[in-house]
Symmetry: C2
Subunit: 347 residues, 2 copies
């Protein structure tokens, strides 16, 4: 794999991080920062907020200079907004961070490197800029050839139903059991957490499946690549990304992710969330094009809008319906899903 965007290289972007929140519209706008703070708390020295910012990660509020003094290497712009554009205040704050001696990383569609003032400030301070939505150069067109190794992909009924959390929870649980298992990031938050990956929604359309092949190359150590899914085959805005990722991943195993209280597809009131059985079957049918032996091994629910008894009852009901283990990775863990995965691929 290329070193592009590899946070583990010396002198490159990477932790420790100051998490920049600025002045976000709502709690959803800081989901990138929240993901990094949740999965890599040891990498986060503090958060930077404007005075009127209500959302918080529960980290100490510190200035850029304080962050630098506490050992931060990089300020991560952990906010997102519709369209991915940079507000003027984010540009000013980015320049201030560079002047304070921090590198800056962001995951917006609008790139840091496309703003001349930001580029000048980085150059003047000898700092690194990294756009997580900038795919590495040289990703090839997908070739569909069967490759060695085992791969699991999370797929969803909709966007934002917990595919990244589920995939990371599987990595943690499998490693705790001594399995070789590696999270493969396909979105900006995942890339910040993993330190590398492909922003699959930002590659040129012809290269979606190629990008998926590129992040999960052949492996021969009997371990698993756990590939972060994106979107949904049933989301009319993004299904092309989901299908290309499904084909390129050549998954042996699928885990279906779902938010049981979601009434309609994210952002599209006219589109109901697909029925679970139909959604899983459509993913299996499409996946068989590049891996005829693909199996569903579990269902992961985001039950954060349910009471504990409701969450348990819903998991049981869906488990009965699909004849698969069903858990909320954040509240219940993923042990029964891992049990089933390992049982299905025991040979």
């Amino acid at each position: 794999m290329s070193n592009h965007g590899d946070a583990t290289l010396p002198g490159h972007w990477g932790p420790p991080y100051l998490l920049y929140l600025g002045n976000p519209a709502d709690d959803l706008a800081i989901k990138t920062a929240r993901g990094v703070a949740y999965w890599r708390p040891e990498w986060c020295v503090g958060q930077y907020r404007h005075r009127d910012c209500k959302p918080t990660l529960g980290l100490p509020d510190i200035s850029m200079a304080q962050a630098k003094a506490k050992g931060a290497n990089t300020m991560m712009i952990g906010t997102a907004n519709a369209g991915g554009m940079m507000a003027p205040e984010i540009i000013a704050d980015t320049i201030a961070a560079l002047d304070a001696g921090l590198n800056v990383v962001a995951g917006l569609h609008q790139k840091l490197r496309e703003n001349p003032e930001i580029v000048a400030a980085a150059r003047r301070n000898g700092r690194v800029l990294f756009d997580a939505r900038d795919p590495a150069p040289g990703i090839p067109v997908g070739n569909g050839r069967p490759r060695a190794g085992r791969r699991l992909l999370t797929v969803g009924t909709d966007c934002s139903v917990g595919k990244m959390y589920t995939t990371l929870a599987l990595e943690r649980a499998m490693r705790q059991r001594g399995c070789a298992a590696d999270f493969r990031a396909t979105g900006q938050t995942g890339i910040f957490i993993a330190g590398s990956g492909v922003p699959i929604d930002a590659v040129v359309a012809d290269f979606i499946s190629g990008g998926a092949e590129w992040i999960s190359p052949a492996r021969s150590d009997d371990g698993w690549d756990l590939i972060e899914g994106q979107g949904s085959l049933f989301h009319p805005s993004y299904a092309g990304v989901s299908l290309g990722l499904l084909h390129g991943a050549q998954p042996d195993a699928l885990v279906l992710c779902h938010e049981p209280t979601r009434r309609h597809m994210r952002g599209l009131p006219g589109y109901p969330v697909p029925e679970l059985k139909r959604c899983l079957e459509a993913n299996l049918v499409a996946a068989r094009l590049t891996n005829p032996a693909v199996k569903a091994v579990g269902v992961a629910l985001n039950t954060s809008s349910l009471s504990a008894p409701e969450a348990l009852a819903t998991c049981r009901q869906i488990s009965d319906l699909l004849q698969l283990p069903c858990q909320d990775p954040v509240i219940m863990g993923v042990e029964s899903i891992v049990d089933n995965l390992l049982a299905c691929f025991a040979n």
Copy 2:
């Protein structure tokens, strides 16, 4: 629609064209030039070939200066190669064309505007460069909202089975009957022929369905948008593009395109061409997400590898199998497909 890439604007790229062949590897490498010469012969003043070039369009071989003297406005680089890169000789010839006073257009993944020598030559001569694979800025994310007007999309069992030819043949036949019908281009050759469009395989992955919505906006004149399909839901390299295009197009009508002698998916010996019935059904199922009323109205075959009696027999066989009119648009026209289309949407 934006004026980006609109060949009908004064002082912009556009015909008359000198078609540049250079020194292509084989006949397939000049398919862009061949498409333009076939559909818009009145726009083509000649072809430019190197001495050792075997493929020909049957146009007069002329120099760049001769082309300019004959009224050519633009040299079109009508060759393609795997990966879409520019060979050194193409760079040199492009500069020579600019120095001869011609604008230059190309449809390669590697952009004219990314080569500093080419950009300098264009500036020095006051000439225009146009990269057909450069999507217009500002294409939005798809919104999936039902929109007015009627749309037909060509879909395929594979890449390069005649989707563009079929769509253009439908435009010609429908216009001859007095129907309002407009070809909507989604690939570089189609963009050169139509004078505008969206290179759907070159947009950022998140914007595939948005690009399809953008080129076929709501219309209220009772006419048809005829949208050029791309790839195939069954091609593991490009299916994401095909699905996003299918969702964004919201087609009322599908025409399935097929090459009956193709043994495996283009470039992928391990992947057989899908069975016609299964392929059509998969396209209809996926299309229903954004247009539940979608109907298949015909099948278009590329029978160029068959004898005339074989071609007729194959059309009859497939017509019986799918209960749809089946024709080779180039040899037989598309009248029976248009008959069925108009009968299906007669109200």
